[in-house]
């Protein structure tokens, strides 16, 4: 019996998993691979454009997840959610859907070199599509930096809605999400109790990731802590409320998650009105100089 080396087996698997190129979409290169599917960059021959194809891997138990994700995405028309162009079956029988090809980087790769405020503005833009999805009764359930793309024009897109929970429900068992960013109720497998506050927990994890290598700030730490509270009732009720608190921090206003002492209030006021404070200090110095030189 002929034995194949691991390298040969891997090469054969790559050839086998390459999408059929006889149809509308011609595969160019593999972009990403996950448990729910493989994403390929492909040429759309009909419309002459590049798209991203998400294809069910060989041996996957069911195409339901992929079809479900395509339907969820199709129902969420928002600038922060990647649009679906097409869905169906490839010539080799595998389910797929075609979506807009986002040129850019994943959040965890895109934030290097960005200032804290730039990161916070990106964070606010992550909250927008999440809040929109919540308003449509959809909970993402797997929010993490790897599922956020920052496009080359600065657009921020929330990806990977394959495990989203729909208000219409459906039979669901097991633990869904990524351990590091998963709310306690998700980790406990209590999928019935998962709601938008579970996504707020994930957003808290993303914010914590964005601030990990930044100078520490008590108000921001408090925002993370509130978003990632063990008890969902203690978290922000909505993604919008969390985004608003981050916005207040950016504007130099007090955040709801943190109670400042008088010194911090004064310091924040001076930081917010820096020019006025400097002018006043300039006035005092000028006064002292006038007294010293002209008042003698």
């Amino acid at each position: 019996m002929l034995e194949l080396s691991d390298r040969n087996v891997a090469a054969l698997r790559r050839v086998l998993e390459q999408p059929d190129s006889n149809g509308r979409y011609h595969p160019v290169r593999e972009i990403a691979r996950g448990g729910m599917g493989v994403v390929w960059e492909a040429d759309d021959r009909e419309l002459g454009r590049r798209v991203a194809l998400k294809i069910l891997p060989f041996g996957a138990a069911s195409a339901d997840w992929l079809c479900r994700e395509a339907r969820v995405l199709a129902g969420l028309e928002h600038p922060g959610i990647v649009p679906v162009h097409d869905a169906g079956l490839l010539a080799d029988g595998r389910a797929f859907y075609a979506m807009k090809l986002v040129q850019g980087n994943r959040l965890d790769q895109a934030v290097a070199g960005l200032t804290r405020n730039q990161r916070l503005r990106i964070f606010q833009r992550i909250c927008e599509p999440v809040e929109f999805a919540h308003s449509r009764g959809i909970i993402h359930r797997d929010l993490k930096p790897e599922n956020v793309m920052v496009g080359e024009f600065g657009e921020v897109l929330v990806m990977d809605w394959g495990v989203a929970k729909l208000s219409s429900g459906g039979p669901e068992t097991g633990i869904i999400g990524t351990p590091q960013y998963m709310a306690p109720e998700q980790a406990a497998g209590a999928n019935d109790t998962v709601d938008q506050r579970s996504d707020v927990y994930g957003l808290g994890g993303i914010l914590q990731f964005l601030l990990a290598d930044q100078p520490s700030s008590r108000p921001l730490q408090a925002i993370c802590k509130k978003a990632m509270a063990q008890d969902p009732r203690e978290r922000y009720a909505t993604a919008a409320a969390m985004s608003a608190d981050v916005g207040k921090f950016l504007e130099g206003e007090p955040v709801s998650a943190y109670r400042e002492n008088p010194f911090e209030v004064a310091w924040r006021w001076m930081a917010r009105h820096r020019t006025l404070v400097l002018l006043f200090l300039g006035y005092v110095v000028m006064r002292a100089l006038v007294l010293y030189f002209l008042g003698r």
Binding site: L276, G282, V290
Partner: protein, 112 residues
């Protein structure tokens, strides 16, 4: 708070501060109350006028220039009445105008 009110309060506050510095001049002893009241009133009126200007003209450079000019003129008037300490009165007075001019242009923030 609107621009004239900001100008009025800031002008009055800085006017009091301005007047209090007369404590450092021994020859003003006995006139302190008059100096402080006069300085406060001067700052108050100048601040109010700078605030009204800021309401009409939304331009930082113009606001500051107007503040410096107006406060400088007011200070010149006071210095002429007193007959001495010209620089010690006009320079700080003009700087007060600069601060009030800046503040009334910048605050309150425009709302969308």
């Amino acid at each position: 708070m609107n621009k004239p009110t900001i100008g009025l309060l800031l002008g009055a506050g800085l006017g009091v501060l301005d007047g209090c510095t007369a404590f450092f001049y021994p020859d003003t002893k006995g006139m302190m109350t008059g100096i402080i009241i006069g300085s406060t009133f001067k700052g108050l009126v100048a601040g109010l006028l700078i605030g009204f200007f800021a309401r009409k003209v939304h331009n930082m450079a113009a606001g500051i220039a107007f503040g410096v000019l107006l406060s400088g003129l007011f200070a010149l008037g006071v210095a002429m009445m007193q007959g001495n300490h010209y620089a010690a009165i006009i320079v700080p007075g003009s700087v007060v105008g600069l601060i009030v001019g800046f503040a009334t242009q910048k605050y309150p923030h425009a709302t969308a």
